[in-house]
Symmetry: C2
Subunit: 153 residues, 2 copies
Amino acid sequence: MESELSIGEVAARTGIAPSAVRYYESEGLVTASRSAGGQRRFSRDTLRRLAFVRIAQRVGLTLDEIRDALAGLPTKRTPTHDDWAELSASWRPRLDEQISVLERLRDDLDSCIGCGCLSLERCALYNPDDAAASLGPGARYLLGDRPSDAEVE
Amino acid sequence: MESELSIGEVAARTGIAPSAVRYYESEGLVTASRSAGGQRRFSRDTLRRLAFVRIAQRVGLTLDEIRDALAGLPTKRTPTHDDWAELSASWRPRLDEQISVLERLRDDLDSCIGCGCLSLERCALYNPDDAAASLGPGARYLLGDRPSDAEVE
DNA sequence: CTAAGACCTGAAGTTCACTTGAGGTCAAGG
DNA sequence: CCTTGACCTCAAGTGAACTTCAGGTCTTAG
């Protein structure tokens, strides 16, 4: 019956500020119908979309990328469990990649402490290109692109 | 003899743009002396500092935090291997934390795919507070604070 | 010595992901 | 009916981390 949620309810249930929800709508991450008076009414699966947005952000994706990912969901019908499962599964590799990059960083840090170079002189830490290369198309570092790299002494 | 580097040399050797190096200097992350004509001259250990900056950024630290960390280095003398080792070692826990947060995220994602909730209804993924709590003081998520949280249906 | 190219400063611009503010409208309880 | 609080829009502001620009100076190879 009350399957339509006001922005305040959505905010309360997701922990996302109303202003952020409006922003997400303006960016095409979620959609909303309108009440007679022009107020937003969100369908229940918006909660799921928003949850997905937050999770994807924690994995390091930009809103642009998240929008693209969400575009894979059906728009006609309410996404099913399988729709979501498929979408979620597609992040597994990404997470695995990020984890291995960090593990590599940790191990390299150890070895760098040992050798004293701290990332200079062909130190693996300072040359993350190979790590990035293994990420395949669309690969990027934890905090955005770090495209250039060193020719360290 | 030529132990002073121009900004261009620093940039070439670190892969960091000259504008970024100037910015780092303005932010107090590195220091530079000046030539007779007013151009920056960097000492050799600036390369090490800059390398550290980049690494710390990949671990998710802000420049403010990195500056604070670098403040632990001696300013009178050139930092020794042990100085750097001490500094580097202090990141190990941080890396371990980040790795475990990501691993948790991955595992939770699996279980959420299984249960179909995708982070709703007391899903662990959607309530990262406990994960964050384990990070101790100064804990933060991968891409900045995500302080608020849900009272999801 | 001179020209090219590296460097300088300070201010302004950029991107991302939002938040804040101003000024006004909608909806629900009493 | 009326008031209060939630909601609306649009524009502008925020902060992090830089980049770009304009206009001018230094340095160095030839």
